[in-house]
Amino acid sequence: MKTLSIATNEIKQSLSNKRTLVFLLAFPICLMLILGLALSNAFNSSIKIEDFRVLYLVKGNTEVEQAFHSFIKEAKKYGVQFIRTNDEIDAKKAVKENKYVGLVEVTDQGIQLYENNANAIKGSLLKGMLKTFADKVNLATTVAKTDPGKVQDVLADSGQNNYVQETSINSYKEPHAMDYYAVAMTNLAAFFGMMSAVYLIRGERQRKTDIRLSAAPISKMEILSGKVLGGILTNVLCMLIIVLVSKWVFKANWGDHLAVVFLVLLSEVILAVSLGVGISYMIKTDNTVNAITMVFVQVAAFFGGSYFPIDDVDSFGGIFTRLSPLYWANNAINKVIYLNDMTPAVHTMMWNLGIAVLFLLISVISMRRREGL
């Protein structure tokens, strides 16, 4: 009962404190909105190609010219415009000046491409399309040697006119910006709880209320348990509000396994509060403890993908990323939502709770050694 009384008191105090509400609620929600809207383009997996113009020159009467004209027609559907020219020199000059992506010469020997390397994406696309066309012509030539009657069938096969083929390595659905930042900012808000947890016991000493608590018929363990429980419940409440706002107002995707997602977030909160209390006992001065927690949270956030997604762990932050609790949580929750993969979530919860137990033990041992709180 006394533990619950202390926990209730802690929640009342925290929620009466405007700074706490701004820090744990308003700040993450605003950041989520700003980053989710501002960086939405960074999450587009498609690239829009505009102004794709190519010059072509037919030298002599070629058998390929008719097929090439079919190719040009198909290419137009993808926004690629082929323009005929008779002046090779002017055409090459125009390509060099980046007015056109390239110059295609259609000759008896085949197709030659003169391109400007300035635009790598368009150049690659054009090469790819021409190669597909060239493969088709080569196939027709081969067929003509054995069965000339089938050549037109090969060249006219519209079912195979997919000169641009979409291939995707990642076959699962990916988050949009708001989806990503909803998860990232909720995790970050949970981890921010560490900074207020530092003052769960330290704050009592600063206010001198530690004297009253120590003088009351209540054990140190009850006081510590009550304060930690109060800290956890306050942070869980704020976290739930952030999730609800992101889900119902910003329409973020939290997937179909909300219970698992909640458990990961809860373990994050428990870790943050335990770290805060433990660090508070390990470090004596206020300035030092504030600096250490601030640096730790921001480094964990930076390397953990709180501010931008991390595609390649090793090329980005390497060991710093792998050691960031925020990376574990972000990665675990995203895999639950988009891959229905629970394994990272279980591992993350185990790590979070294991570290939390360690820091709570440190707190208990330190507190027992001290006189008073």
Binding site: K208, T209, I211, A215
Partner: protein, 314 residues
């Protein structure tokens, strides 16, 4: 019945001995004063009584029970008013008292009644729903007291409860102390203000450098000083006053000058009638006398006699 017994209690912080072999007891119904300068060991002593600090040596008993073995029992029967204001600014006055009283096992209607009682006692009933951040210093001190008395402890410890407040609030607190005592509480009152301790306490211990140097009623303590008297001379200006010349007057032992108030305190042997000579000194030096008073020794004089120092540095 003895509410408090301290037997050979010692407390060290490293090599520093804060409380040195203190033995004393407090009977039920007393207002027991701990008088001593800053750093004498008053707060350390009461922190040990309240169970906030561990003893290095000795024993403390509350209502006959050793606090090292019956810690919870002792704490249930003690209310502490710390020197610093120990309240939650974010909670209302009512919520503050309710929270602390709740830690002593009070629940439900009984808890609410005690909270209202405590707030009424300290004159803050109409401020029950207000936040302490809007209170004056005196009101915060009163709330500080309310938080300590709601659970009706048998022993109330007040550690320098009037530091930094206005005279009106100070008087209110001293009246409250007397009222609490009339209601049956035993009180331990610590202060470095001699006037307060003289005003409210029934028995006093004078502590210095961790040791009890004198203990007894006011009369008993003052009887230590039976051979001196004080003459207080108020003048227009102390600039021309020469303490050494005054000391040359027969019987004069000590001269203290308060430059701020232009008051000279002359401590003389009680059996030497030197008032005329003292007055003549001021007349001969053209120093205008505004006031003149001969006072009996007080606790300050007792302390000065026993330690050679003042209770408060001037």
């Amino acid at each position: 019945m003895k509410v408090l017994e301290m037997q050979n209690v010692t407390k060290k912080f490293g090599d520093f001995v804060a409380v040195d072999n203190v033995t004393l007891s407090v009977d039920e119904g007393e207002i027991f004063g701990f008088l001593g300068p800053n750093g004498a060991g008053k707060s350390t002593s009461i922190n040990m009584i309240a169970g906030l600090l561990r003893l290095n040596e000795g024993k403390i008993k509350i209502l006959g029970k050793d606090i090292s073995k019956s810690n919870q029992f002792a704490k249930k029967n003690i209310g502490i008013v710390p020197q610093d204001i120990a309240i939650y600014e974010e909670l209302t006055a009512f919520e503050n008292v309710k929270f602390f009283a709740g830690l002593y096992g009070l629940r439900g209607e009984a808890l609410n009644e005690r909270v209202e009682e405590a707030l009424e006692f300290v004159g803050l009933s109409d401020k029950a729903k207000s936040h302490p951040k809007d209170f004056s210093g005196g009101m915060k001190r009163r709330l500080n007291i309310a938080c300590a008395i709601a659970h009706r402890p048998k022993l109330i410890i007040l550690d320098e409860p009037t530091v930094g407040i206005d005279p009106q609030s100070r008087n209110y607190i001293l009246q409250s102390v007397r009222k609490l005592n009339e209601m049956g509480c035993t009180i331990i009152y610590t202060s470095h203000y001699m006037e307060e301790v003289e005003e409210v306490c029934t028995r006093i211990a004078i502590i210095d450098h961790g040791k009890i140097i004198a203990e007894g009623t006011k009369a008993q303590l003052k009887s230590i000083i039976t051979n001196t008297k004080d003459v207080w001379v108020g003048v227009t200006s102390c600039r021309e006053v020469d303490p050494d010349e005054l000391k040359d007057i027969a019987g004069v032992q000590e001269v203290q000058i308060n430059w701020e108030d232009n008051v000279i305190k002359i401590n003389s042997a009680i059996d030497v009638n030197n008032l005329n000579k003292i007055i003549r000194y001021f007349i001969n030096h053209n120093i205008e006398i505004r006031s003149l008073e001969e006072k009996a020794p007080n606790l300050e004089t007792v302390f000065l006699t026993l330690t050679g120092r003042n209770l408060r540095d001037k």
